[in-house]
């Protein structure tokens, strides 16, 4: 990517840095990871007034270059040119908040001591105006000798001036005497001198508009009402409204499969394409609506500033197990799908907290488990009422919540604490949501999901298809063919291991196949019992008829419960493993996830089956 200059964008978290970054780069941005750390790297390009291209690096939010978190370490390292993967930027755009100039200048003054040209952007001028704060930007400009641009980034107010500043052929270095003393008090004194006479505050009532909102939203009663409504609304949208676009996607992929079948002769490659590729990838893409909805809700909450309030309210419930309030949304999101949930941990400052949250995210009963739950519950209670079935379903969710808390507690105890956990949660003032920002974020995240899950799942679907197809038997019967294949043999091989859980080798194949993705369970069962893909009801009926060697039903209550418990805990989503691997930048944690979860699932299912034996059969 040839570009003339590289600007680094720095500022405190919650300053609207992302908004400015978006304003400068539009859709021309990429998100990746800094090698070696779980810190997000955002780079984009823009064009200045001369038409020349420039690069912008959106550095992680930092309060100070005296780094106290991996995010801040990266910011410092990049600014000082200490990262081999990222060359030192040519200039720095320092974003400060008009409402809180002094505090934000803490970082800015540190940046000004690095010897790089600087452009200062004073953001949220609208809010300052509302609060009766006026800033003499010109005077500041004279004192510092660099461009000082007042802006309101979310409405793109002031962009022109920023573009002018960016396009200057020679960018000025700030006139600033370095503060030698490490004591924050000294720096703040210097800042006071710098800003003296440039900021005027009217002595009005301190009740800001934000406060009025907070009185309701963080109210001991209303606060919960609002939160529960939002969570309820989220889940309602996810599990019912999302059904429409999901059906659409399902239909499209089905149609695609039909087209291929019509145009290709019957054969292995055609089967690979229709069952392996189209089926596999379709199985992932079908979750896109839910992913987008999730990121919409998260984006909306974050953009308005409400997300911090959620963390504020939930912190007490999470600190007991060593998490903090910021873990709530990632964990909640994981109830739809752990992938965006794990991605959402990027908002958490502590790497350790991020890790723990990532490790427990898959225990949440994600939506992929739903088809499995529904099928098994129906098998378990063939004549049960809807109420009874719902009760079992709720029980499964409660079990997963218990699992989340328990394992959070376990990990908190076992993983070494790197630093004393001081939590400082900043509550930014509320903002009108910027739909443009939210949509942009949804788009970017959706893209990542598709690419992430798509590439991994595509590969694995092909592999899985191969495992259920080769070696080929002479039989025409689909179920015999499956038994002869590698997957079938694997199922038979593990049979002795899973027998104490109440499973037979056919279920074994289902388990093995689901390890790529849980939803595969239903279609695999279909092939095992009916030799081909069929309607869920017919599969279930056939499964209900299945008997063991002794004539008793294979899918009795004990076995079904055991299977359900297994599915609650087992790590059966290679996309999630892939995301974990990427987010933690190592295989270690991803593998640990699979091992501990599946191991525990095994034990839990074992216990369920054996203990069930005392009460039931």
């Amino acid at each position: 990517m040839a570009s003339d200059r590289t600007f680094a964008l720095v500022g405190n978290p919650n300053t609207g840095k992302t908004t400015l970054f978006n304003a400068l780069t539009g859709l021309r941005q990429k998100v990746a990871n800094y090698p070696g750390v779980t810190v997000e790297k955002k780079i984009g390009t823009g064009r200045d007034r001369h038409g020349a291209e420039f690069t912008v690096i959106d550095l992680p939010g930092a309060y100070s270059l005296d780094a106290k978190s991996p995010d801040e370490e990266v910011t410092r390292a990049v600014l000082r040119g200490e990262r081999p993967d990222t060359p030192q930027p040519d200039a720095v755009i320092c974003l400060v908040d008009a409402v809180n100039l002094e505090r934000h200048f803490y970082l800015t003054t540190q940046v000004m001591e690095l010897g790089l040209p600087v452009i200062v952007v004073i953001n949220k001028t609208d809010e300052a105006e509302e609060r009766g704060i006026t800033i003499a930007a010109k005077r500041l400009e004279e004192r510092l000798g660099v461009s000082v641009v007042p802006m309101q980034a979310n409405e793109r107010v002031g962009m022109e001036a920023l573009q002018v500043a960016l396009s200057a052929s020679d960018l000025a270095q700030p006139q600033w005497t370095a503060v030698e003393d490490g004591d924050p008090a000294t720096r703040y004194t210097a800042i006071e001198t710098l800003l003296d006479g440039t900021v005027a505050r009217s002595e009005e009532d301190r009740q800001t508009p934000s406060d009025k909102w907070d009185r309701v939203l963080v109210h001991p009663i209303f606060g919960w009402v609002v939160l529960l409504s939002i969570v309820g609304g989220l889940f309602f949208t996810l599990f019912s409204l999302a059904g429409y676009p999901m059906d659409l996607i399902d239909g499209t992929f089905g149609w695609l499969g039909e087209q291929v079948e019509a145009r290709m002769a019957e054969g292995d490659l055609r089967a690979l394409i229709t069952e392996g590729i189209i089926g596999g990838v379709g199985g992932v893409v079908i979750f896109l609506p839910q992913i987008l909805i999730l990121f919409f809700f998260i984006g909306l909450m974050e953009n308005t500033g409400y997300l911090a309030r959620v963390s504020f309210m939930m912190d007490r419930l999470m600190s007991g197990v060593g998490l903090n309030g910021k873990a709530f949304v990632p964990v909640l999101s994981s109830y739809a799908c752990a992938i965006p949930g794990i991605m959402a941990t990027r908002t958490m400052e502590s790497a350790r907290d991020r890790l723990i949250t990532t490790l427990i995210a898959p225990i949440t009963s994600c939506s992929a488990r739903l088809p499995v739950y529904v099928m098994l519950i129906a098998l378990m209670l063939p004549v049960g009422t809807a109420g009874q079935k719902a009760l079992v379903m709720i029980g499964l969710y409660v079990l997963s919540i218990l699992g989340v808390y328990t394992f959070a507690w376990v990990f908190n105890r076992t993983l070494e604490k790197s630093e004393k956990t001081l939590m400082v949660l900043e509550l930014p003032s509320y903002q009108r949501p910027s739909w443009r920002e939210i949509t942009l974020q949804m788009y970017e995240r959706g893209k990542i999901f598709l690419r992430r899950a798509g590439t991994v799942i595509l590969g694995l679907s092909i592999v899985l298809w191969a495992m259920t197809t080769y070696p080929k038997s002479d039989s025409e019967d689909g179920s015999e063919q499956l038994a002869y294949s590698a997957a079938g043999r694997l199922g038979k091989t593990i049979e002795p291991v899973i027998e104490p859980l109440g499973y037979d080798w056919k279920m074994g194949i289902g388990l093995v196949a689901s390890f790529a993705a849980r939803e595969v369970f239903v279609s695999t069962m279909s092939i095992i019992y009916l030799g081909e893909e069929a309607e869920e009801d017919s599969v279930r009926d056939r499964m209900a008829e299945e008997t063991r060697a002794d004539g008793k039903p294979a899918y009795d209550v004990r076995t079904c419960l055991s299977l359900l418990v297994f599915y609650v805990f087992a790590m059966q989503c290679l996309s999630t493993v892939a995301v974990t691997r990427r987010e933690t930048n190592s295989w270690r944690w991803a593998i640990l996830q699979v091992v501990y979860l599946t191991g525990f699932a095994y034990l839990a299912a074992l216990a369920t089956y054996q203990i069930g034996g005392f009460f039931l059969s």
């Binding site: 100070s64 106290k68 924050p184 907070d214 309210m313 004393k420 939590m423």
Partner: protein, 76 residues
């Protein structure tokens, strides 16, 4: 310093000046950077619905701290 009041004891709306801190250097440093300087004026805004954390206004920003941490920041 046991008879000194600390931030965790402030009531809603009460304003106080920051005194000493009984916290590890990194934590204390972070708090100072964020505005909890010695002598800085802090206003207790509200407690979270479940009692913890506590929202403070300091240096123009709203920052929430846990009770345990706030208890280590003394008041002049």
């Amino acid at each position: 310093m046991n008879d000194s009041r600390h931030l965790g004891q402030l009531t809603a709306g009460e304003v106080a000046a920051v005194g000493g801190m009984d916290l590890p250097e990194t934590a204390a440093g972070r708090l100072r950077e964020m505005g909890f300087l010695t002598g800085a004026s802090v206003r207790m805004v509200r407690r979270a619905p479940l009692g913890c954390p506590i929202e403070f206004e300091v240096g123009g920003a709203r920052l929430a701290l846990r009770q345990a941490d706030a208890a280590q920041i003394f008041v002049q």
